[in-house]
Symmetry: D2
Subunit: 284 residues, 4 copies
């Protein structure tokens, strides 16, 4: 049977990335409370394609992912990318894996339990000895200032993103109004460059503490009173929220501190039909 993909291509156009997108699988990740957690993931998996090859072999991405989906802790994710790189005979491999992560959380007064969902993703790249790193080497053309410094002969980059819904109460609205203050659900997105092991649960806690108040699945009346007053006492612009999380990430107790991270916050404004948004980036 002919192998069209293996044919020689004469157009001299190298492809930075080629692969599969939107592959949906059950996956297992680490969970501090329960050891592991089964959740549902969506994966994009790519390699570079040298200019003289006509096409890549798409089925091999799925074959490797199938092997790994039962254990996709942070370390295993990079091992999977390296196996993809080798199996596809490529210089570089890239991957993004998005998944909801669930944590059981107690209401602040009644201690009623409910599950909270936090959308997370892994995003990584691995390269071999001859794999000179292109500027675009993180999946989906996202920037990474970190990578510029890593043009070593063999290496990898690895980013983890966590999205946390919170309550924000507007400092301006509180200050200028005789009573009340507009508040709303917001979402904080933190992306860190992996330096040493950490728990997703700790990132979530840090972010929730930086907001006007956390959000919960279950709140009884005594809890609702508590979070209403907590938010009123802790007004936060998106700008404040991003700065508080930034300071918290810099001081987070880790084996090795984060060398790069970004923080963004989006408020689904209760007085507008659009969002307020703020973004900052740290590079150590």
């Amino acid at each position: 049977m002919v192998d069209i993909q293996n044919e020689k291509d004469e157009r001299a156009v190298p492809l930075q990335k080629v692969g599969v997108k939107g592959v949906q699988y059950p996956i297992t990740v680490l969970d501090r409370a329960n050891g592991t957690q089964v959740t549902t993931g969506t994966a994009n998996l790519f390699v570079n394609l040298p200019h003289h090859f006509k096409g890549t072999h798409m089925s091999r991405f799925i074959e490797v992912f199938h092997e790994y989906h039962g254990d996709l802790s942070m370390k295993r994710f990079l091992a999977m990318l390296e196996e993809i790189r080798v199996n596809l005979e490529a210089e570089r491999a890239f991957g993004r894996l998005s998944f909801p992560f669930f944590i059981e959380k107690e209401a602040p007064v009644s201690r009623q339990k409910g599950m909270m969902r936090y959308d997370c993703s892994y995003e990584g790249a691995v390269w071999g000895p001859g794999g000179k790193l292109a500027k675009d080497s993180v999946v989906d053309t996202k920037t990474t200032s970190q990578l510029e410094n890593q043009k070593t002969s063999k290496g990898h980059s690895f980013f983890i993103t966590v999205k946390v819904p919170v309550t924000t109460l507007c400092p301006c609205s509180k200050a200028i109004s005789d009573y009340g203050a507009h508040n709303q659900r917001g979402i904080v997105t933190v992306k860190v460059c992996y330096s040493s092991f950490f728990w997703i649960e700790d990132l979530v806690t840090l972010i929730e503490k930086s907001a006007s108040a956390p959000v919960y699945s279950v709140l009884k009346r005594q809890d609702e009173k508590f979070v209403t007053e907590q938010a009123y006492e802790n007004p936060r612009f998106v700008e404040d929220l991003v700065r508080e999380v930034y300071l918290g990430l810099k001081e987070m107790p880790l084996e090795k501190p984060f060398k790069w991270f970004s923080v963004q916050a989006e408020n689904f404004e209760s007085i507008h039909n659009h969002s307020a948004w703020a973004y900052t980036e740290y590079e150590g």
Copy 2:
């Protein structure tokens, strides 16, 4: 050239609806302030297919829609469905057309102007003399109690839906807290069975008046103080919001009152990561 669609089908399975979905077009609708408004529409267009035909002729839906897209006032929408029914030689034709509708709106104190977007849709059915009306005869399997009473020999049904973002402030949170009250963006969806001409703009106004406060595109500080206090003075559960809109729709000054409508409200709760929701229906 053979016409496979016209071939006889022996399986004896009639199809209630067959057609095209997700057709995207620029369209023109009526606008009280400016006469007409150009916006972007998405159309689903169907007919019934008797059991002895193998397939329908999909291109004819687009041909008729192409003729009408430059003027899709409410009346023209039904005329378009009737032309589709006749061209496709069907007993019944169905259509849904969704589009954003824009209204320029002034801030309450500063009078600064901004555009607001309201998602709207038309949803209709037409049937010919022999077209006994099936229970499912509104597009996309949505219910309509109205239709049950309209099994006339020739006829039509027509529904208009308008979605309006608003601010809601929680009465419980206000009552039990020493200060503050959680509030959030909500969205009210009203669907009415067309009885006589009305302006979408009037439905929007009625809905905004029923909320804790309207939302705006531009608010200067004096406006923000105004809406913050307005919301605090007018706490509303989703249940209250739906009831206020219900009462307003019943009393709306129209040539002929609405014989059927539904009202739903969804609050993107600022203290939860899920929504509170309420629904009611009126049949005159």
Copy 3:
């Protein structure tokens, strides 16, 4: 602490449904190959609210769901709705639970294994002795002709929906072209009224057999040749696909046959930027 929700409402507007929407939780469902399967669900949970009550108690929905999420087989879903109805002191309770369901599937020639995702949902209603059934009694205003016949003094309705991606190849394009035929991914949505136990896996198999060819996660070259030729030998309009599935469902070996079902198919046409769509409904 005051209980605003319990206050008397004088507006005389009953609410058919009130509750929570978009609640996201890990859930466990039945799986023929492995006993159970952990996946991620999104729930909408409602009750009716008599006109004399001001509001419902939203936290109770989550409390009951939290108890049940570790085992949400079909039967347990109805038991959960009944518990919600009783806890909320309502005449009727409604629920929809959407979740991806995964099945390991082998490529047709190479027998390579990959996971396939099928989006499913449960949709149900329960009512108590005094709970006269409204026309709109399925969640989210979806129609159900079935319910009309079930105005018994106490009862329930239960629907299961399964969405299956498939390949369809156009019979017209094949017949009129000298070579080739346009084909595309399509999605078939089957909704059945529960009559007796069945496996989701069996619905999936029936639907895949009705298409031009199934879709797979992993296909090696010998598999790709197989499915390409299989699709070319089995051209199917959306109309054909819907009729084949309809006939299959009528004859499905079950303890009790389905009394009601609907079948729809949507083709993401490769020659258009819109979909072709067909719908049929059966009532026994």
Copy 4:
């Protein structure tokens, strides 16, 4: 009235971007056939915020956008960003504006006319004399290798993105199968760094010529035969498609050639439930 946003911030955390997201407006852009085209836009507008300011003034973004929405040709978009930068007293301003763009297109044989929708966006940044350009200076943290070379004392960057749906037919499937070949809808996304004026319509034509066949809104039977055979005669992997568009963009007749562009193609595979994807980037 106090101005909280103007207060001094002591946390020493500069914010690269702060502003509004998801602002929805009717907008007017250039159209080769008709002079101008009214469509519906979604805007994200940001500025940088020096570390000593507490917050930005969100209403000013909307005020400026409101002035410009009636004429948002490419040049006016940059003028709008500069006006935002000056009004917000910032060193840098950023904007993204996404909108559907419609072109009337004739079927290849019957010459039937239909409208096609192409999703487009403008993405730009402007900076003042003292505005040292950060690495992240394109909105939403997207990469741009181009910008690295533009750290001039005052300047701007400007990118235009166009998404074009096409048909692709698999070369491998055609080569290994006795008859038929799988094909599907794909979408090509081209992003160019603006160098001199061009028509969006010309980018669309170039992309459609690079595919196995274009897609259309209306196709009569003679047209369907034509595009089926055209696609079978022109098999294209996503890799081929990206390379053909890359070569076309390099040779596009322009006053000044593009100095940077990227091309990506995503195939909604008819034999899988995931996509095949390829990406390349050019820097002159």
